[in-house]
Amino acid sequence: MKNSLKEIATGFNSLITGMRITIGQFFKPTVTVQYPHESLKMPERFRGHIELVRDPETGKAVCFACKLCERACPSDCITVEGAKLEGAKKRSVTHYVLDFTKCSLCGSCVEACRDGAIRYSHEYNLASTKKEDYIMDLFKRLEDERLAAEAAGQSFPPAAPVVAQASPSASSAGVSPGVPAHTPPKPLATEAPKVAQPNPEPSKPEVK
């Protein structure tokens, strides 16, 4: 009798405890992310597909087509072409295509790059029904972004990428997007057409 009464009491107590816990959860905010309407921001070290890093001073790609990434790629999914433009000291990239259908996201290309010219993007909404959507022209993407930003009156896209091994001048230069840069727009405006269409002049690329 005593035991069964004790059992009833402890059982009832545990029921009340359970209900107290659930009502506590009831009044806490929801944690759902309404996916198509909103999505999570990927953490800084998320390893998505690669993308070209922009030089915050010129607004153009840091990459100078040394082709180390192309060689490091085990799946043969990167194609890089570069050219030496008139008046430039270094070669610059003119064509950078990532075939994401073959990419296994191993990251060898980023490891191989000595100048921090490519990095992992944070993009992950990559679903598509067309295979062509996964042949990514990263160079064209970068240039389009720059042109769009120029059209919008900014010197370069507001989200200026953080260069891993930043060139010494990058830290000192005022790279805040609000500041209308005096120097960059001009050379960009003149060079843009040339750089944006690498195909018309296929004679330029020097193959190492």
């Binding site: 069964s4 029921l15 816990i21 659930t22 959860q25 009831f26 806490k28 929801t30 759902t32 309404q34």
Partner: protein
Amino acid sequence: MQAIQHFISAFWPEPLRLILFLVGILSFVGLNAAYLVWVERKGAARFQRRPGPTEVGYAGLLQPIADAAKLMSKQLIVPAGADTTLFRLAPLLMMSPALMSLAVIPWSRNLAACNLNVGLLMIFAFGSINVMAIMLGGWSSRNKYAIISAARVVSQNVAYEIPMLLVVITMIMVTGTMNLAEIVQHQAGPIWKWYFFRWDLNPLAPVTCLIFYTCMLAETNRAPFDMAEAESELVAGAYTEYSGMGFGVFFMAEYANILLGCALATVLFLGGWQSPIGNLLGSSQSVFGVLLGIFWFFVKMYFLVFSVVWIRWTFPRTQFYGLLNLSWKILIPVSLITLILSSAMIKLFHP
């Protein structure tokens, strides 16, 4: 109020009044059954820290309508070899007792579709038809899961009918009437006049209320006693073979029965339409008083409905012997004790 009643009785003949009440009750039950599904889904979501239905209408408010449209557009399949008549009859048998019983619930002063002198008796007389409806539904669908489930439901409901009726007998002794409106009248006044707090009449009054509530959960086949539709074991229980609105009516009937059970608990223990803070806002005889009564009734009733949802999403389903143990070893002895104690109290102190 008197003037309105005279007006109604002078110009609206009895049949019209009846039709009006019937339409009112039917639409009330339909609306509640539909929107309690929404409450259930929203509540379930909140208990799991999800937002619940959000897409159809503001905060998913049109979700029940979308669900109903979907269910109605589905084909009504009668399984081969099933007893067609009984198969079709079962959902109606499940729904109609709840509808009929709600007619005698006094929603506020002088506001009951049918003020029966034996209202309580009528509710429990009709309440037992539910069991038969599930039994028929399970048996006539010629499906072994449905039959097993129906057998479970019958043994569960028989087990829980006993403590429930013992509690109700206690309440009838305490109140001295089976008229629900009179039961509420007896609880007029401050909050300690509610039968939930009447220690002097029934020393175990809160326990009695708790037993009634538990039995109500079991009778309506709600979690944690949802043996009738134990999804993980019995597909959808007795409703396995039902499709479209046949299933929908069973589903609505479940919520109508919950509504009935909560309304009954409100009337018997929580003072029905009586205000817990007394009549601060003038006479309860006026139209305003009647509206206030409806308000208090709904507050209490929907709190109980919410707690049903709360319980569902807190406790896991009991095992079957646990369920029967609870009834036969705890609820029936305790309700017998309350019966004896309260009869002694009434004999000794309130002759």
